[in-house]
Amino acid sequence: MNILFFTRLTSLILAISLSLILHLVVIYFLFNKWDEGIKIQKVSPPKYLQAKLVNLDEKIKKKIQPKPKPKPKPKPKPKPKPKPKKNNENKIKHKILDEQETKSLQASKQLELENKKIVSSYSAYIIERIEANWNRPPSARRGMESKLLIRLVPTGQVISVKLLKTSGNIAFDRSAEQAVYKVGSFDKLQQLDIQTFEKNFRKLQLVFKPNDLRL
């Protein structure tokens, strides 16, 4: 009995110490990483410009290629760089930056516009799909309004539907939820690049507000 317990303890000590060490290592890395992250946050101004600079390059690529990867890269890469640049080549870079700043501003504006177009065209697609599946109950009246929050995954599939604001008519709310469930999957959203999807279509607010009812 005693021997058995002892052997078990020794083996346990080994395991415990090992896990302790592992935990410590993990915690150490965890905090170190966070430290760095926060430091990066502090040197924010140059990061701002730098990010747009890279965007311009990407943008040119974008015109030739479809848009699968463009955005995800720029953010992680530029962040660590600014530190050394700021220290060493600050003055030389400054002039170039000034020139490119205006350019990048224009470019970003254009990009934004293009993004808006994409978002609105895919929104129109979503509207069309839902309207084709929305079966209003006869108790629906003009002026009723239900608000839903839906969550999508990049395949376009609906993974959750939540009622944010009731119209006051349960049947009406239910018909709105049913319309979304009936669509089930907004397949065309698969064509979107992941950045645009994440930014605009991961979570969606749908406002159901009929204006074509007689009463």
Binding site: P138, Q178, N200, F201, Q205
Partner: protein
């Protein structure tokens, strides 16, 4: 300090993600009939006297708002929720599914039934309905009501009844019958049979009695009859016209037309005090009174303006206000229980149609495409109306939804059918 920073960043993220959602407005829909599957009731034992699920299916279909899925296409007949494979029902295109199981406990049927959303695989409700052995049809209508209300947001009216008058000619004699049936036409019951005309049945608000006009005494007289024990009582015996009784929604009075003072005028009759009060005094004809839901005013037809039009009479002060202005003939008013929709006979292009007028915005809509339509009566949930019309020179009942989306005929077994009156809830 670090921790606080972290928390701040975390909060910033949360608030950012909460406000960043794209908002999309949906303003149109299609409004097709809802696809619904009513699985046959599961039970052990002998064949049931009624096919409950079939009755529910027919009820929902007749409302025009549902498109039931044919039983022969169903892949399974689940009796309980755990037996449901939602995918099977999705394939059939069903949006909703009704399942139920029946047990016989003593002399009572107990039906446990559930309504489910197919696409989201969610349960809307599970309820229990109990009834005696003779009430299987009532239970079916009750379940129909519950399902209808959950999906449409409107109270169901499948458990209500209809009174009507049939007439059958044989050997130069006409036989008149006052009948009551379920709204689906089943369980027809004879209330009164006579060789003299029967007219204008009107329900008491508790749906236990009828008032009607019978010519059996040689001249029109208003009678009141209890449906359960057939007790009847003659209420009027005046010279001239005694007609168009209408029971007030609060149950206290009748409105009717009497010409005992020379000219058809609107009266009310206090049922407790048995006293008549005259409300109109005009040389024109005032007739066909019908109560507003609050029992405080009446609508009636009068030709005091030169052509038959509909007026409203406020009982408290006797004030009369004209309601209809379009067309040269508007008559036989009935106010829906919503107090807003006026149903009437409207003449346009020399044909008599059923029309509704919205008393708030004034919209006039012609609902029927038959001609010679008469006697509209509105369902207690203000969703449908019944009226009498002529098809191939035969009097039949027809139904139309108040949005004119659904129309159907109720075929009569024999003879002419006229003067339908939809019972209250």
């Amino acid at each position: 300090m670090k921790k606080i920073n972290l928390i701040i960043i975390l909060f910033a993220f949360i608030s950012l993600s909460a406000s960043a959602e794209l908002s999309i407005n949906i303003t149109k829909g299609i409004d097709n009939p809802t696809k619904i599957a009513i699985a046959p009731l599961s039970f052990y034992g002998n064949q049931l006297p009624e096919d409950t699920s079939r009755i529910i299916e027919d009820n929902l279909k007749r409302s025009g708002l549902f498109d039931p899925i044919s039983r022969k296409n169903m892949l399974s007949f689940p009796g309980t929720i755990k037996d449901i494979y939602f995918r099977d029902w999705k394939i059939l295109g069903a949006e909703y599914l009704v399942i139920g199981s029946l047990i016989l406990s003593g002399d009572f049927y107990e039906i446990t039934y559930s309504l489910l959303e197919v696409h989201s695989s969610r349960l809307v409700f599970t309820k229990i309905a109990k009834g005696s052995k003779g009430q299987l049809r009532d239970l079916s209508h009750h379940i129909s009501d519950e399902v209808y209300e959950a999906i449409t947001g409107i109270e169901g009216a499948f458990s209500t009844k209809v009174a009507y008058v049939t007439s059958l000619k044989s050997n130069n004699k006409t036989l008149y019958k006052l009948m009551v049936s379920d709204v689906d036409g089943a369980r027809e019951r004879l209330i009164l049979e006579s060789n003299h005309p029967i007219m204008s049945p009107s329900w008491s608000p508790d749906a236990k009695e009828l008032v009607y006009v019978s010519f059996e005494t040689g001249r029109p007289a208003v009678f009141r009859q209890n449906l359960a024990n057939a007790n009847r009582k003659q209420l009027t015996n005046f010279r001239g016209l005694n007609g168009a009784p209408s029971w007030s929604p609060d149950g206290k009075k009748l409105a009717l037309v009497l010409s005992k003072d020379g000219n058809p005028e609107i009266y009310t009759f206090d049922l407790r005090k048995e006293k008549f009060i005259r409300h109109t005094n005009h040389f024109a004809i005032d007739t066909e009174p019908n109560w507003a839901p609050d029992s405080k005013s009446l609508v009636f037809t009068s030709d005091r303006g030169g052509s038959p039009q509909i007026y409203r009479l406020t009982l408290k002060n006797g004030e009369v206000q004209r309601l209809t202005f379009r067309g040269s003939y508007n008559a036989r008013p009935r106010l829906a229980s919503n107090g807003r929709t006026l149903v009437m006979i409207h003449r346009s292009a020399h044909q008599f149609h059923i029309a509704t007028q919205d008393l708030v915005n004034g919209d006039l809509r012609i609902l029927s495409n038959t001609s010679l339509d008469e006697s509209p009566t509105v369902s207690p949930n203000s969703a449908m109306l019944l009226y009498a019309t002529k098809i191939n020179n035969r009097g039949v009942l027809a139904a139309v939804s108040l949005d004119a989306g659904v129309k159907f005929l109720l075929p009569s077994k024999q003879g002419d059918v006229r003067e339908p009156a939809w019972s209250p809830k």
